[in-house]
């Protein structure tokens, strides 16, 4: 079974080493995919600000199997591609009668107001939820999900932000099921998600 373990010391260390994948010595392969998680504490409580400006928690927004992505709207290329891919997976599952959520969490709280993330997410799926928050709230959520982001501090208006691009599949009761790298196709995400939904719900 392939296990995925994330850096356990500090966020900086986790970010620097990225996602670690190696063969573990025991366990049964998960029929839903090769990225079963061992010993990880990814996910958990967060408090962020919704598209309507209200404070929401993870329990408010992860009410069904949900694809969770961290990005920023000033990104004109990668974030829209990945968000659209996740939306496509959601539409494919909908065609099979399976209802999942899609979540976009901004790592650019300074520019991404609730209105901006709402407009951005509405582009991809009518039900995609966009969240932002205070710098502290965003930092805490990113830390909970072991994602990395770092704004370039060279320009007050047009700065760029480096950020992780994996998408997590989260379940309301059981938390993390698996994650998807950005080269994963919508078909693969839909198939893996459907498999986990059959297993865990």
């Amino acid at each position: 079974m392939k296990a995925v373990i994330f850096g356990t010391t500090t966020l900086v260390a986790a970010a620097a080493i990225g996602l670690y994948v190696w063969q573990s010595t025991s366990g049964t392969p998960n029929p839903c995919g090769t990225t079963a998680i061992a010993g990880s504490t990814i996910g958990g409580p967060f408090e962020l600000v919704s598209e309507t400006g209200e404070t929401v928690t993870d329990a408010d927004v992860i009410t069904k199997p949900t694809l969770v992505y961290f990005g920023y709207t000033f990104c004109p290329d990668v974030c829209p591609l990945d968000s659209m891919r996740n939306a496509q997976a959601a539409y494919m599952l909908e065609d099979q009668g399976l209802d999942i959520g899609t979540l976009f969490i901004s790592v650019d709280p300074q520019r991404d107001t609730p209105e901006v993330v709402r407009d951005f997410t509405d582009n991809f799926h009518e039900d995609m939820i966009g969240l932002t928050g205070s710098p502290e709230q965003v930092r805490a959520a990113s830390r909970a999900y072991k994602t990395y982001y770092q704004a370039h501090e060279d320009d007050p208006e047009f700065y760029l932000v480096d950020h992780s691009t994996q998408t997590y599949l989260m379940f309301p009761e059981t938390g993390l099921a698996t994650f998807f790298r950005r080269d994963t196709s919508p078909e693969e995400i839909a198939a893996t998600t459907a498999c986990f939904m059959g297993q865990l719900t």
Binding site: C75, D77, T165, R182
Partner: protein, 147 residues
């Protein structure tokens, strides 16, 4: 490739504006429509150096507060977008700025989003070919996940 992808590509090809300088040919210049409150947009195009001399794209001008040539690099799952001063276009070769990598970054939309059906006039600046006027067609982002 799925049919809808082909259709999207065909649509792009039909719409594409083509510009020719002496030695460079530009095709399929397009930008994706953005959300109303978007602050930035991406432009894409294909450059062919039809000459026998290497050339370099060294800049772009368009009517935005800032326009730059960018690329995105991926390291251990982290995307890092960065400004490029130059994009080499060797003699006889084709370089594509396409989603997930090289792009033109239109910044500072400030309430003027990129709207489907509109166009963006721009000037590419090449080291040898000089200035080349082009037009980006603003199109809806297609559902194909290119990567």
């Amino acid at each position: 490739m799925k049919p809808h992808k082909l259709a999207a590509l065909a649509a792009f090809t039909l719409m594409a504006s083509t510009a020719h300088a002496d030695s460079v040919s530009i095709e399929n210049a397009r930008a994706f429509a953005t959300a109303p409150t978007a602050m930035a947009g991406g432009g894409f195009l294909t450059i062919t150096n039809t000459g026998d001399q290497d050339d370099t794209l060294i800049g772009i001008r368009a009517d935005f507060p800032r326009v730059e040539l960018h690329t995105t690099e991926f390291t251990d799952g982290v995307a890092r977008m960065m400004h490029l001063d130059a994009i080499p276009v060797p003699a006889g070769e084709t370089v594509s700025l396409e989603p997930g990598g090289l792009h033109v970054m239109f910044m500072g939309l400030r309430g003027n989003p990129l709207e489907e059906g509109e166009t963006i006039p721009a000037t590419l600046i090449f080291e040898n070919a000089g200035e080349v006027e082009i037009t980006f067609d603003i199109v809806k982002r297609d559902m194909a996940h290119s990567n």
